[in-house]
Assembly symmetry: C2
Homo-oligomer: 327 residues x 2
């Protein structure tokens, strides 16, 4: 049983950089402003959702923990969030997702065509924003990261055979798909600084814990809290850690039930509920929790090298937030 | 009747930079090389098609006309072609096109998902390639250009009402969608050089002539030569210059026939053939030819400022090639 402590709120993590974070949001709105109605409509939708601004928070906290936040970091953080938004829009389009955090996706609200073009629009705006900083290093980090993310996305659409997708494959996939950008966000906060490498590694481990928790929530969360229906990954035949970890413990009947679901184009709610129960009973949830904790521990260890400060404490709280969050 | 001269062959335009162009192709293959099978499969398909390499040709000729070609221009030209490929893949996916130059598109041969991700993959590889040049200026040009292209794409999907899409709208659309990258290709060949601005403007006019000719070929070309069925734009309800120019000359019956086609989800071959004939008879083809010649003249005028050389002659030939080509 996990310890009964009050979960860390995102707002308290963001407290040390609250003002700068508001400036990031203003900057974001400024960068994507356009007279062209079709694009402006999508932008308005994106700004209205706003999102958790978790990656910009990491850029700013990382900067503050290393050497202090400047106006450049605000612009950098806006570029990182733009890249994140572009990626979400393309991911949702690739997955034909209709909801994200309880809000309609761009492909659902506008069209698939609009989603492909808007992702490209936002990504190229992000690159313009980074070029305008007049230094190459953030571009070097961010172009490497975004390329890595596309490889992770490709690995994800490849992962549909439960007998042939190992925990190593899963680690490789989420490392590329999710941990890369979170690591990049922490790294670009501390460029030209001795803390760059520890913060980059911190972000890598934090990102792994983040994605494992995300995949756990698909098995344990409720739609009211997460903003998307539980069991969506199973419905879309996505193989994540809880399932991978449970499979070796399943009896032949349970394995057949699971394989049947994966072979059904549109699984029923009953099928999904049954496999979720099997995964829970066969230790898949527990194993994924242990793994998330492992990466959380790695992230915390990297922070030991960073001087103590409010931002340092907030980064430590971010680790707890990532593994304890309910949505 | 157009003058009966032998059309300029692409090969003769490419002659002054033939060796460097082969090096661009090698560089392209090197940049996208990967051990990851899914991506390698798509790359093999793209390299096998190869394409006309028109934009890299312009980078190299522009460099040679301005100040001489270096190894950096070869790497730059490869990045420009990568951006072009990324754009084609997303365009085909957005349009649900199945053929491009007689070859299956990535979305048709692999999947829509693969097309979205591969476009992102190639674009981020292009940015990495540009960052590796260790200067900001090519990135500044290319990020502006790619953003402009997404706006053009958005304008294109918006353009479905023949009564409300003017020649100005069309110019704005093809300027953003096509002329931007062709202009950028010419510009990055001559960075830090007095000929940069004339070559940028040359590329802009050349790109306008290029797209108008492309749109003309959809009305006048045969599938054997162009690699795609004639009348495809009408089938997809795309409004291009021949149609825009013909509409004011149509009688009410012809206009109704045209509007009926635009209102039919899947127009028949007979409908398409009828509207093509109306557009021809009402001067749409001729008007578009005149407009293409106008931009060709603008492009040639810009070249008057560039010193005479083999590359200069080849750029002049490129103008003729663009307006005379059959595919």
């Amino acid at each position: 049983m996990p310890p009964q402590i009050a979960p860390v709120a995102l707002a308290s993590i963001q407290q040390p950089v609250k003002q700068e974070l508001d400036a990031v949001f203003e900057e974001l709105a400024r960068v994507i402003r356009t007279d062209f109605r079709m694009i402006a409509d999508v932008n308005a939708h994106l700004l209205q959702i706003r999102g958790k601004m978790f990656r910009p928070t990491l850029v700013l906290l990382s900067a503050q923990a290393a050497d202090g936040v400047s106006g450049r970091h605000v612009r950098l953080a806006a570029a990182v969030e733009l890249i994140h938004l572009a990626t979400l829009i393309h991911d949702d389009s690739v997955d034909h997702s209709v909801l994200r955090r309880g809000q309609p996706t761009v492909n659902a609200l506008f069209s698939h065509q609009t989603a492909v073009i808007m992702g490209d629009y936002l990504y190229s705006r992000a690159i313009i924003q980074l070029v305008d900083l007049d230094v190459l290093e953030p571009l070097r980090v961010m172009s490497r990261v975004t390329n890595e993310m596309t490889v992770g996305e490709m690995r994800e659409i490849e992962a549909h055979d439960i007998l042939d997708f190992t925990e190593d494959d899963y680690d490789r996939m989420i490392n590329a798909k999710t941990a890369s950008l979170i690591s990049g966000a922490c790294e670009v906060g501390a460029l030209d600084n001795e803390h760059r490498d520890p913060l980059r590694r911190f972000g890598r481990s934090l990102g792994m814990a983040f994605q494992i928790t995300d995949d756990l929530l698909d098995y344990t969360g409720s739609e009211d809290v997460t903003g998307k229906p539980a069991g969506l990954d199973l419905r879309e035949h996505k193989i994540t850690l809880p399932l991978i970890a449970a499979i070796p413990n399943m009896d032949p009947g349970e394995r057949t039930t699971t394989e049947d679901l994966m072979a059904t184009a549109t699984p029923t709610d009953a099928q999904i509920h049954e496999v979720i129960t099997i995964v829970q009973e066969r230790g898949g949830i527990e194993a994924a929790r242990v793994r998330a904790s492992h990466f959380a521990g790695e992230a915390e260890a990297e922070l030991d090298q960073i001087p103590v400060s409010r931002a340092h404490d907030a980064l430590r709280d971010a680790v707890s937030y990532v593994v304890e969050r309910r949505s």
